[in-house]
Symmetry: C2
């Protein structure tokens, strides 16, 4: 655990600290977040803490990845609580830039993800993953981490970032960290606080439906039929509205077929104004099994 945690707002100050640590031979682990920390984030820190000398966390609600009408303004923020949780979890440097610090100018250069970005969340959030890759490349250049930690709850984001890192020789490894869940199975999310009491009670239906999907998959049921069953389960057992449910190869996010080593079963469900996502990644070799969840 870090005894002192530095809170840094300026890119230049942060780079000075990182460069000093690197010169002295220390490794840097990086946990990028949008804040409003929960156990999922703290699990990322725990992994980073185990494998690196210095742990950097960023908190930046990135306007570039919110579309028009999305919840940028409503995205929950609690800086003091976050700082206290980060310090307790063992973060050494907490980087909290303003939008002006991150985007002082814009010459219009954009990073466009490939076909992976057109499915799942990308289908209903055009431009979202452009914004993700923009901030990720900036943060990687600013922090220069040896290892960067991402949760598997945002499985599409993770797949796109892994592809970007591989194809562009980015100098960080990407570390996949399993989904962390509430006791009743709801995946931890900063957005969960926006659920009404009723919606919060219903929301575990998402994981129940995914579990049902995995069973059907293991029984050899067709992709279409699995997707229909999941939709039906959620609609019949809650007030949730399906945004999408898809079974695809992973991390390619192309149509699933028998030649894929891994498959993802992913869905997004709206409870009122709150959109929740969840997924399960299944290894399709040596029999099927779920591999991206911490068992509760």
């Amino acid at each position: 655990m870090a005894i002192e945690m530095a809170v840094v707002h300026s890119i230049e100050t942060l780079q000075g600290m990182i460069d000093r640590n690197k010169r002295e031979g220390r490794t840097v682990g990086f946990v990028p977040t949008m804040g409003f920390l929960h156990e999922g984030h703290l699990t990322l820190v725990k992994h980073a803490r185990e494998h690196n000398d210095v742990v950097v966390m960023s908190i930046f609600v990135n306007p570039a990845q919110f579309g028009p009408g999305e919840d940028f303004e409503a995205y929950p923020r609690d800086v003091e609580r976050d700082a206290s949780l980060a310090k307790e979890a063992g973060v050494d440097i907490l980087f909290m830039p303003t939008s002006e610090e991150m985007y002082p100018q814009d010459g219009g250069v954009r990073i466009l993800p490939g076909p992976q970005s057109k499915v799942l969340c990308g289908a209903s959030r055009p431009g979202h993953f452009d914004g993700v890759l923009k901030v990720v490349l900036k943060l990687f250049n600013i922090v220069d981490p040896d290892r960067s930690y991402f949760g598997m709850k945002d499985a599409q984001q993770l797949a796109i970032i892994e592809t970007f890192v591989r194809d562009y020789n980015l100098r960080t490894s990407i570390e996949r960290v399993p989904i962390v869940r509430e006791k009743d199975g709801l995946a931890k999310s900063s957005r969960n606080v926006n659920l009404t009491e009723m919606e919060r009670m219903e929301a575990p239906v998402i994981q129940q439906a995914l579990k049902k999907g995995v069973l059907l998959f293991n029984e050899g049921v067709s992709v279409d039929e699995i997707e229909r069953e999941i939709t039906a389960h959620i609609m019949e057992n809650s007030s949730g509205i399906m945004d999408y449910v898809s079974l695809l190869s992973y991390p390619e996010l192309t149509e699933y077929d028998d030649s894929s080593d891994e498959a993802i079963l992913a869905c997004a469900v709206k409870f009122g104004k709150t959109r929740l996502i969840d997924n399960t990644i299944m290894s399709t070799k040596d029999g099927y099994h779920v591999q991206n969840d911490d068992e509760q």
Copy 2:
């Protein structure tokens, strides 16, 4: 001057060498090229040699920046001569990857430059600067240079790369190096060898026309009139066909107006199949003057 020069084809080997040098506190200067070296490239090396402990040159004819019907196959290559010139100029590490080494897979992530890429050469070479930014980001990540050296002959490329580096916090500084010319004023270019004897004799008309343009600019002649005069000068005094001539603000590459600190007067002229570019950058404060040329 380097006594030994390492010739490296593998990304992994190169990164190992760079990391070792960095750990020992050495600075790295980088000169990216497409080979067929001339004095322009060697001037870049000279600058890199003066300011860095280790000088890395890459030679890679990047297929991603050639469009359909462009001269990727015809682009001149002479690896042995290049290696000998590079060593003589003081390169420590010569990186010559194959296309397979650089582009083993393609997940479809693209980097799109902004409005700067729509004018000048970009207008007639759609996708060209996407390919440039792709290879530049890869090379920067592979080489991890403290300083990278670019010639001002490719002034649009330089402006776009400067913007990318600034907006995405890339960890290298970009060093502008003035145009190097033949005795008769023709800007040095790997493509000059493709000119016929007659075309080679006519080609200095490009710089003459640009000089005329600068005089007119200093006399307060309008942008449109300057562009017309340059076109007329080249068409009347050579077999060259104008591809474009433009006077723009620099490095924004927007319409020139009095508030711009710098202006660029740039043109591209076709002699037979060979397309030559040249430019002049003018400071527009404290009286006009040409600033991007080594005086011959």
